[in-house]
Amino acid sequence: MNLSLLVIVPLITTVLLLFVRGQSGVRRIALAGVSIQLVLAFALLGLYWQERGVGGTAAGNASAFLFEYRHAWFSALHIDYHVGVDGISVAMILLTAFVMVGAVLVSWTIKSMTKEFFVLLLLLSAGAYGFFISLDLFTLFFFLEVSVIPKFLLIGIWGSGRKEYAAMKLALMLMAGSAMVFIGLLGLYYNTGVAGGYVAGAAGGPHTFDWPAIAQMQVPVKAQLLFFPFLFIGFGIFTALFPFHTWVPDGHSSAPTAASMFLAGISMKLGGYGCLRVAVSLMPAAAREYSPFIVGLATIAIIYGAFATMMQKDLKYINAYSSVSHCGFILLGIGMLTRTAVNGAVMQMISHGLMTALFFAAIGMIYDRTHTRLVERLGGLLKIMPFISSIFVIAGLCSLGLPGLSGFAAEITVFMGSWQHPGGMYHLATILACASIVVTAVYILRATGQTIMGPVKDAEYNGLTDATWNERLAGILLVAGIIAIGVAPFWLNELINK
């Protein structure tokens, strides 16, 4: 299967959109585009499983990456366009597809500059897909950068609240992150000077950006120790590594719903994926050295994020800070460096992606109708908007880790994996991370109790409508994903393990 299709389809959709006139045409083409992406993602999943030999056939293809494709790009600098997938990538691509369909459906009623909105959204998705399939570090960085500027425009133009400030802050912090990543990448590049490192192509120069090649080499330890912080912090800024997480609350809250869904659901996972693939896998010695710091920062993010969430008054801020807390689990899992913990981190990436997309979708629907996001002004929505309230509650329960929904499986795997790491400090970190489930329960139930339950706060709310068809479809799609992982996590676990 040609992986570049995943990038080409959004790009083609973007081009088509440029030629369409009229709002409904734009929407339909965008929806068609993302639906094709979803079909492609499922097809990829199926083909991948077939190749790996899951399901009783003879022992499958056990190579590290499947469906590889390589094309020389700047051969003088040994940069190729090299793509391939393994289990983790497939899972992330599936996540992206789900969230994108949800995002497009939820944005059905955007009135101003609809075409530009969808163009930017699709560009974002192209960037994300490209990021997940890249096997060449430069290509990876390229796609990472592709996805930063559209976010700035989306928030700054279609956002709400302090959108210009939030857009600027987000863009600058993410750019700073990318800059650090680039320094790290260059560090890696210039330290891969071993004969025979570069495989395909002409002169066989010593430096390379190629991921599989670097993974087999031993990057000198001094270089690792120097450049690992750059890479980890750079990617970590994307995943809300404390203390560089402050773009998250303002960015997510001021963004339009679809952009929030993408930001929290996928963009934050770009960082996690980058940390795992690039920082930790390519520089294992440094990862072990810095592991206490990573664990410490992640634990702080989890606990501190949870406590900060309790005090928020705006629904989107609640969700944004809760994202900081949950993404802390991802970094904790990666930092613990045990296989189970890393599995848990990947599961948490996917579970949190779906969950937070659902949550933002629900909040967006509520905001569209009541024009307020303040918890104290909302109340009794269960009676008026039962469908939206139900998906709100489901998202909330997933956030607090109720078994049967995906959050539980992910968090438990992280906890078990973290506990397996010997050492008192790590056990303490695990205990603190576990303690966050109580705080999460408190703020989720407070938010739910005040907005969804209770008497109807404002008599005007009585006339509001429940979800329209597109919103229902988006909600159902994301809930289906959450339940699929929650009730039967073994398929995801196996996928990641392969």
């Binding site: 802050k169 900060a308 078990m416 397996q420 329960a441």
Partner: protein, 668 residues
């Protein structure tokens, strides 16, 4: 193969789950009026299967040595953490799990039937039965779990169902708050449970109950020693790591079972509909903690320090709850505290194991069994009473024995059972518990005895106040104007216009069945079937050691009759006499206020607010500061672009001069 024969037990939890799914998706629109029927039918089949399996297991399932062994049914690896180390969705068939399955499904069936009448006309009828189905599924899954993490999963699901059901009347802020409180307090306890699981599974690398007990119990002592902190030889802060794990798991159980000091959610949970209270907060969910400790009984019996903890926490909770119940005036709250008290009994019976006396296990399970029946009966009778009187307060009731004759008889039977009067079931079970306590710890025995007297007193206080006190026929108060906090009646309820007529059959049938059970279950030779290692024990009939409990109970009943049978001022005087203690107990010993203080002042204001403040001003301030700094630097050097030609010329000159000097230096 015995394993395959019990495979049908898989249906027992799955049928209610099916009910939940169907009613959850379609209950609102499509099925509406048939929801009750559908839910009840599914649970009925579940109960039948459970009873059939129970009969089969106990009658024919004994192994060659006459002992009842555990069988695992199913073996699905749900989430794996390593080779052989996974959360499995297995079902365990062993004496207590089968017993519990029967109890849970049976009581659930009774509640389903009762709700047909009680919740009739309710607008969210379908949703109610969906939630009941979810709860029944979760509880059955919990008791049939073979893997400790599987039990944790169902534990959480039970908590979620409880949240949904307590908050069923969601437009009442008090109900929403009560649901949240229940969930958060039990979540806090679940944290202990989770960490306990992590500790215990750390080096045993297994999560199945059988394997855990094997590796950590008496046989596997060396593994237990090797657990945990390196260099400390398995000891952490003076206690073995296994004890820490077990103690934390007990904390989890204590939260769900409403033991001191995690009991604060149970009285507030009475905001839910009364049948829900009967099912969840009396007979089934709250005993989950007891069940968990019983599951790991062998390990607890081995850990002396943790057993002591269980013993004291259990008996203290029993005593405290009894004291508070003597002063409460809301019928459901009295019953809630009485539940807490009885669970305390069950718990401390399990705590007697460390002294080598293992009859506590049987006694506890027996009391759990009998308690389920009479407590459910008490709550359902309370439901009928509340339904009739439209109020929860005792002062609005009185002299109801002529108006509700069947309820009167059933309530009396249940009160006699809970007070431990022969030949009702409570007598046998309570007496066994006290006998198990006597050799272990005399103080605990004494406190347990005194508490049973108190139990008789407050239960009969309730009985006399409700059914006697005033002359029959005097209009019971129709001032439904009770305080906002006591709602068992939904705003939409009351469409049953026949509430002044006789109680519908659907509400009377469960009462009768439960009353019959209460009378006769005492005679089951429990220890023949359920002992800690499956081997049948001998049943000792009640002997001389039955006299103290019965005597104290009769004393309590007598005092209650003297004070409450006729309307008089003696209760007032008694309350005056004990003024301090009375008011202290009436306010539930201010424990709720302490919790509120800790959460609001310390946690919210002390940790939450500073965290948010730091994030907004310091961490974010740093980022904003960076931006401001950059802007300041930029502002300060922008003067170079002054727009004045002469300045530019000056800069050219300096540059050229500098370069010249540089080159001169380089080339000489």
């Amino acid at each position: 193969m015995p394993n395959a024969a019990y495979l049908i037990i898989v249906l027992v939890p799955l049928l209610p789950l099916l009910g939940f799914v169907i009613l959850g998706l379609f209950g609102r629109k499509v099925v509406k009026n048939y929801s009750g029927g559908l839910g009840t039918a599914l649970v009925f089949f579940s109960t039948c299967i459970a009873m059939w399996v129970g009969y089969d297991y106990f009658a024919t399932g004994a192994g060659p040595d006459g002992a009842y062994h555990a069988f695992k049914v199913l073996n699905i690896h749900w989430l794996s953490f390593g080779p052989g180390f996974s959360i499995d969705m297995d079902l365990l068939v062993d004496p207590i799990s089968v017993m519990m399955a029967v109890v849970v499904s049976f009581i659930s069936l009774m509640v389903h039937i009762f709700s047909l009448g009680y919740m009739k006309g309710e607008q969210r009828y379908g949703t109610y039965y969906a939630y009941l189905g979810l709860f029944t599924f979760s509880m059955l899954g919990l008791v049939l779990s073979a893997n400790i993490f599987e039990m944790y999963i169902f534990w959480e699901l039970v908590g979620c169902s409880s949240y949904l059901l307590i908050g069923f009347y969601y437009d009442r802020p008090s109900a929403v708050a009560a649901a949240k409180k229940a969930f958060v307090v039990t979540r806090f306890a679940d944290l202990g449970f989770l960490i306990g699981i992590l500790i215990l599974s750390f080096q045993t690398k297994t999560l199945g109950f059988g394997e855990l007990i094997q590796m950590l119990g008496p046989g596997g002592q060396s593994i237990a020693d090797g657990l945990g902190v390196p260099g400390a030889r398995g000891v952490f802060l003076g206690f073995p790591v296994v004890s820490w794990g077990l103690a934390l798991i007990f904390v989890g159980g204590a939260g769900k079972s409403a033991l001191f000091p995690l009991h604060v959610w149970l009285p507030d949970a009475m905001e839910g509909p009364t049948p829900v209270s009967a099912l969840i907060h009396a007979a089934t969910m709250v005993v989950a903690g007891v069940y968990l400790v019983a599951r790991l009984y062998i390990l607890y019996a081995n850990a002396v320090d943790v057993s002591q903890l269980i013993l004291y926490v259990g008996v203290f909770s029993a005593f405290l709850a009894a004291l508070i119940a003597c002063t409460q005036s809301d019928i459901k709250r009295i019953l809630a505290y009485s539940t807490m008290s009885q669970i305390g009994y069950m718990m401390f019976a399990l705590g007697t194991g460390s002294s080598g006396n293992t009859s506590g296990y049987t006694a506890s399970m027996f009391h759990l069994f009998t308690h389920a029946f009479f407590k459910a009966l008490l709550f359902l009778c309370a439901g009928v009473i509340i339904h009739r009187v439209h109020s929860n307060e005792m002062k609005d009731m009185g002299g109801l024995r002529k108006q509700l004759p069947l309820t009167h008889v059933c309530f009396l039977i249940a009160c006699l059972a809970i007070s431990g009067i022969p030949p009702f079931s409570g007598f046998f079970s309570k007496e066994e518990i006290l006998s198990a306590a006597w050799p272990t710890n005399k103080f605990v025995y004494g406190l347990g005895l005194f508490t049973s007297g108190l139990t008789a007193f407050y239960m009969f206080r309730l009985y006399f106040s409700v059914f006697w006190r005033r002359a029959p026929g005097i209009a019971t108060s129709h001032h439904g104007a009770t305080q906002l906090n006591h709602g068992a009646i939904a705003p939409n309820h009351g469409a049953t216009a026949a509430h002044h007529g006789s109680t519908p059959l659907s509400m009377r049938l469960p009462l009768v069945i439960l009353a019959v059970c209460t009378v006769f279950t005492g005679f089951i030779p429990f220890s023949h079937y359920i002992t800690f290692d499956g081997r049948p024990g001998e049943t000792v009939g009640p002997g001389l050691n039955a006299i103290p409990p019965v005597a104290t109970a009769l004393l309590g009943i007598g005092m209650a009759a003297w004070l409450y049978k006729k309307e008089n001022s003696r209760p007032q005087q008694a309350a005056e006499a004990f003024r301090g203690l009375y008011s202290f107990a009436r306010h539930k010993f201010y424990i709720d206020e302490v919790y509120l203080f800790v959460t609001k002042k310390i946690i919210f204001n002390g940790i939450g607010r500073p965290a948010a403040w730091i994030d907004k001003h310091i961490v974010d301030g740093l980022m904003n500061g960076l931006a401001k700094g950059t802007a300041a630097v930029s502002a300060s050097i922008k003067g170079f672009q002054s727009g004045k030609v002469q300045d530019y010329a000056w800069f050219f000159f300096i540059g050229i001069a500098g370069l010249t000097v540089l080159f001169i230096y380089i080339y000489t």
